[in-house]
Symmetry: C2
Subunit: 154 residues, 2 copies
DNA sequence: TATTGTTATACTCTATAACTATA
DNA sequence: TATAGTTATAGAGTATAACAATA
């Protein structure tokens, strides 16, 4: 029990809430919590599932191309892919026309896993739980898409 | 020079751009790049500067309170604060009424450093460089504030 | 020579638990 | 017993550079 009567000291973040970097960081931490609640049971981390997803959408893409698009460093990508291969989710193919490269595709279990967890990954209900309406969520996604140049859908 | 005529393979992210977690992650990476360009020269990382900022706004706050608010783990906070003390930016005080706790404040050099880099940290021009107008930036910040529950200003 | 991916090293951040000193 | 902070350890992510195989 508490002795001093200090009612849980409050913190004034001041102009910090006007920092895009800080606010994005805090938002990411919050949303990632939801992700972990859902996929941690499968021993799957956000970055790993994202890679599986992109391979599912783009079978046969080179490992380096995916790493560049997702801003994963090559050294890290190597280890990540090795884990996914060990898990039986990803198959590596060295094409004949360029035997330096590695092309990636999902195995049947990998494809099944992505399909099964597709909904969880998209955070369909994250926004509700996280104080935003559907409209606000759409707006937020649109702004993030414009910021990153990734929201090609308009 | 390239041999095969593949015009830089393109990646289809598909529904991934509808994932709040993924989009927040990519946006954060992009905005953090700007931060590093500006403060890396000072050997200062985002988390460290954020802590200095919060101490500046709330001198005398307990170390653990700040850690909880910024979602920094206690173990990490200990090391971070030690670096800031070593840099001469932060002073630690153990109050008489509860000698388990540690209260933090900025030294004069610490306060001067925060003041000097205040503008850079707030990413004043980050939004422009990053494809958003002022209005869109304000809107994005407001939505992130609502999502995280931190945007108390309304 | 340049490129693709791998290996190796080191450092930061995170997660966890055990520990101390106070309360 | 509970709390504040520390220490120790391990793992993931990142940065960097050196390397092998191929182009």
């Amino acid at each position: 029990m508490k002795d001093t009567a200090e009612p849980e000291e409050s913190v004034d973040l001041g102009a910090l809430t006007g920092s895009l970097g800080f606010m994005l960081r805090m938002a990411q931490l919050q949303v990632f919590d939801l992700f972990f609640q859902r996929l941690a049971a499968h021993d799957m981390k956000p970055g790993e599932f994202t890679v599986l997803w992109v391979i599912a959408e783009n079978p046969g893409l080179r490992q380096g191309t995916i790493a560049r698009e997702l801003r994963i460093k090559p050294a890290h990508m190597t280890k990540l892919i090795r884990r996914m291969v060990a898990a039986g989710f990803v198959a590596r193919t060295v094409p004949e026309n360029d035997r330096r490269s590695v092309r990636l595709s999902l195995t049947a279990p990998g494809a099944a896993f992505v399909e099964k967890n597709r909904g969880a990954f998209l955070d369909l209900h994250a926004a509700e739980r996280a104080r935003l309406s559907d409209g606000e969520t759409a707006q937020l996604l649109a702004l993030l898409g414009k910021l990153t140049g990734l929201g090609s859908k308009t």
